[in-house]
């Protein structure tokens, strides 16, 4: 049980200690990543996803909410029209163009993932930074709180938070998913700052009379960028998966007009027999994107790991 309580903490602490690097090491890490097939695959997938999201409105042949007479005339409760001229993937359950919806959904999915990650990161870094900079009882109280949150399985915590709201929406999903990320970033930043506290340059700066605030902002924070970036990349993947799980449990946004992969997957469940493609496409999209961020994050972690430095 002790291990269960401390295991996640240790993982975060290791990342915090390992990856806090000076600027000179960045180029080396980057060079290493360029040689790793895992990193390249991840980067390509992520880049493709970002490009897709950026240009989706230009690529998509139709809007996400228009219902087309050609599709509607064949649409029945138990039949969904397949591919036909003008509609490369056919219809969805409401007579929208599935292809356009899939493309446009990349934006909403990205929005949820980025918003959740940014919120989680911002609040987490605020807490972790305060704890790391001030130390003492502030540190004790804040970290106690963070450890409580960390000890819950993250998905279970997200489900509980999402269930607190009487009505699900895009924002309740973002809040639930980002809350789960807060303690991770908090502990990470604090750990990274603690690791630097006794480093030579901090001691040197302090000796030459640099103000504590300046040390924190000019030295400690920039040097913590590595682990935070690694964690943020991984959090993007986790956010997409957690948002999809919340939608599957009926805790997501109930507005059917919004095209978002997790929602599309959840809403397509009823049609699994009739048209499994309605489930497959968004599921594959989620898997590929989550895989991309995971590969990128893991290879970054490896590249920044001092054990691999030569």
């Amino acid at each position: 049980m002790t291990e269960m309580l401390t295991g996640r903490k240790e993982r975060i602490d290791r990342l915090a200690g390992d990856a806090s690097v000076g600027r000179s090491l960045w180029s080396e890490a980057f060079r290493r990543m360029r040689r790793s097939p895992v990193a390249i695959t991840g980067a390509v997938l992520v880049a493709a996803f970002l490009l897709l999201a950026a240009f989706a409105p230009l690529i998509a042949p139709h809007s996400a909410t228009e219902r087309f007479p050609q599709l509607l005339q064949d649409l029945r409760a138990d039949h969904i029209p397949g591919a036909q001229p003008g509609f490369p993937l056919g219809s969805d359950q409401l007579g929208h163009d599935l292809f356009s919806r899939l493309l446009l959904a990349s934006q909403q999915t990205l929005l949820v993932a980025v918003a959740a990650t940014v919120f989680g990161m911002a609040v987490g870094m605020l807490i972790g930074g305060t704890a790391g900079a001030l130390g003492g009882w502030v540190d004790n109280v804040l970290m106690r709180l963070v450890d409580v949150l960390l000890s819950f399985p993250s998905l279970l915590l997200a489900i509980s938070i999402a269930a607190l709201f009487s009505q699900g929406s895009q924002w309740t999903v973002i809040i639930a998913v980002s809350t789960v990320a807060v303690p991770v970033f908090a502990r990470l930043l604090r750990g990274s700052m603690l690791a630097q506290r006794h480093s030579e340059y901090v001691l040197a700066a302090r000796a030459t009379g640099v103000k504590p605030a300046a040390i924190v902002f000019r030295h400690m924070l920039p040097n913590s960028l590595g682990p935070v970036l690694v964690q943020a990349t991984l959090t993007l993947a986790i956010s997409i998966l957690e948002a999809a799980a919340l939608s599957y449990l009926g805790l997501g946004d109930p507005n059917p007009d919004r095209a978002e992969w997790g929602l599309m997957l959840a809403n397509a469940q009823r049609y699994f027999d009739v048209s499994p493609q309605l489930s497959f496409y968004p599921a594959i999209a989620i898997i590929v994107v989550a895989l991309g961020f995971t590969l990128l994050g893991e290879s970054m972690r490896e590249a920044l790991d001092p054990k691999n430095r030569r």
Partner: protein
Amino acid sequence: MLRFTVRRMLQAIPTLFILSILIFAWLRSLPGGPATALLGDKATPEKIEALNHVMGLDRPLWEQYLGFLGRMATGDFGNSLISADPVLAEIGRCFPATIELSIVALLIAVGAGIPLGYLAARYRGGVLDNLTVGVSLIGVAVPVFFTGLMLKYVFAIQLGWLPPSGRLDPQIDATHITGFAVLDGLLTGEYDAAWDATLHLILPAVALSSIPMAAIVRITRAAVLDVLNEDYVRTANAKGLDARTVRGRHVLRNAMLPVSTTVGLQIGLLLAGAVLTEKVFNWGGIGSLIAQGIERHDYPRLQALILLAALVYVVMNLLVDISYAIIDPRVRVR
């Protein structure tokens, strides 16, 4: 030591107290309310109001809270709105199902994950290694409910090899002793029930095992690689020890430490994954209780589940603190 323990236990009381206020406030702030959830579609607003009155939900909040606190203190968590069954009995009934599923999932993950990780490390860079690493990475990116849906679709619906959902064929008249369906079948000598329960377990357990499996494979692989590079292994090899002895005595044993830590870590994740897996496979466990409670706004059930989880958490922390105090006497002084 006793004083320390008592002090820590007393410190837990305000935590629980604050928690009880929070839970109460949350449940009372939710729209709908128990009366709406309890009555069916034919209930008019007047009927719901009347029932609210009967339930005392129109009383002052502090009065309701005191009643709530009193019931909690006596262990009365009320009845579920869905099944009209005492919530505690419900939880007690469903808990073995979740534990059974989680244990089997963990066994599958360990049983398959460690050998795979080991082989991947031993034949590093080979086809098996790349395949294992690739699959374990993809495994992280596939939502567990989707894995479950796919397994069910292929093996239960299309191929018809395994039952698609539930824990036991309803036509089998099984006796319950422990609540673990397979174990009960063996204990009572109802082997048909045990066999059927095993068949029902396979798909959900495999789906759920995908969560810890990926982590276990990766950690095993990394740990074995670490150990293979250690000096004592090289020494042993150089000494000309039989390769099998080296692997058995040194490599595996030393690599198992980080692996066992990881396995411990996965238990929490498993419980979370169980919520989703149970929904896919209609597995009557805690996860189903939670999912259904959320869907049907079963407040007494949710309230009991949250409070119990909190209680378990507080007690666990207490035990950890106490065990630290036993190991390290300095802690006691503070």
